[in-house]
Subunit: 126 residues, 2 copies
Amino acid sequence: MRYTHSNAQVIRYAEMFRAMGAAPRLRILRLLLTAHPRGLVAGAIQQKLGIPASTLSHHLDTLRHVGLLRVRREGTFLWYTANTDSLQQLMNFLYAECCTRSQAIAPDRCVLVRQALAPPIRKEKS
Amino acid sequence: MRYTHSNAQVIRYAEMFRAMGAAPRLRILRLLLTAHPRGLVAGAIQQKLGIPASTLSHHLDTLRHVGLLRVRREGTFLWYTANTDSLQQLMNFLYAECCTRSQAIAPDRCVLVRQALAPPIRKEKS
DNA sequence: TTCGTATTTCTAGTATAATCGAATTATGCG
DNA sequence: CGCATAATTCGATTATACTAGAAATACGAA
């Protein structure tokens, strides 16, 4: 577990956050996660989200450029998939910054950690 | 545990990602997390990060506007603190999108979940 | 090679964001 | 009040991002 991050790493994660920081791109990422690991061709994403082809292409490029997406060609089709390794790193970065490097958030306040603990924590209200 | 998110929620998380998606602001957030829960006054942040006062003020405003920061006044000083509730929600959103709504990433691939499980997973290489 | 489909790149207009010095506001103290 | 300190807001400049129609490229099939 890493407790601190280099300047270059911080810049890299900032770039990933920026790429996810626009609703159309976050929707693209969400869509590709539900279609994981097969992914989707650009045309299918365009149709599902109603984004003009050229606009979509730029968003896909932005996400791919920061490593959040991968692409492979099959004939005339380009299959886009979420890069789960990068997403995992991003989650771990957030967790490290919030819960280990600082103790701003107690690990057991995170759903992800709570979920891994058995038995599940009971709710106070309905 | 929520398995899906409303349109408004996706927009809100996109805004949070965008706010974190610039290196100066991500550095501010990291700094405030290490100073949590006391936080820091604007001048201390300025000094530590070497950002001109007016520029810093805009970055703080951006982060505060999306709910990632809180501010309280004490005399002439403004104390800024990270809003850990929002960060927690953001982490849970990411986890939900990657690991539960889709099964793109297996929960046990997340450090945060691995860390909660005992005994810790052994490494393959040094 | 010619055609059709998939997708990107080109081009350009518009909008939003980043930056920072100077002026302003907010607060407390004597 | 008059002054000093803290921080913001103003004003202006520059840079970056978003959008999307039109043109170009990539590929496969006939």
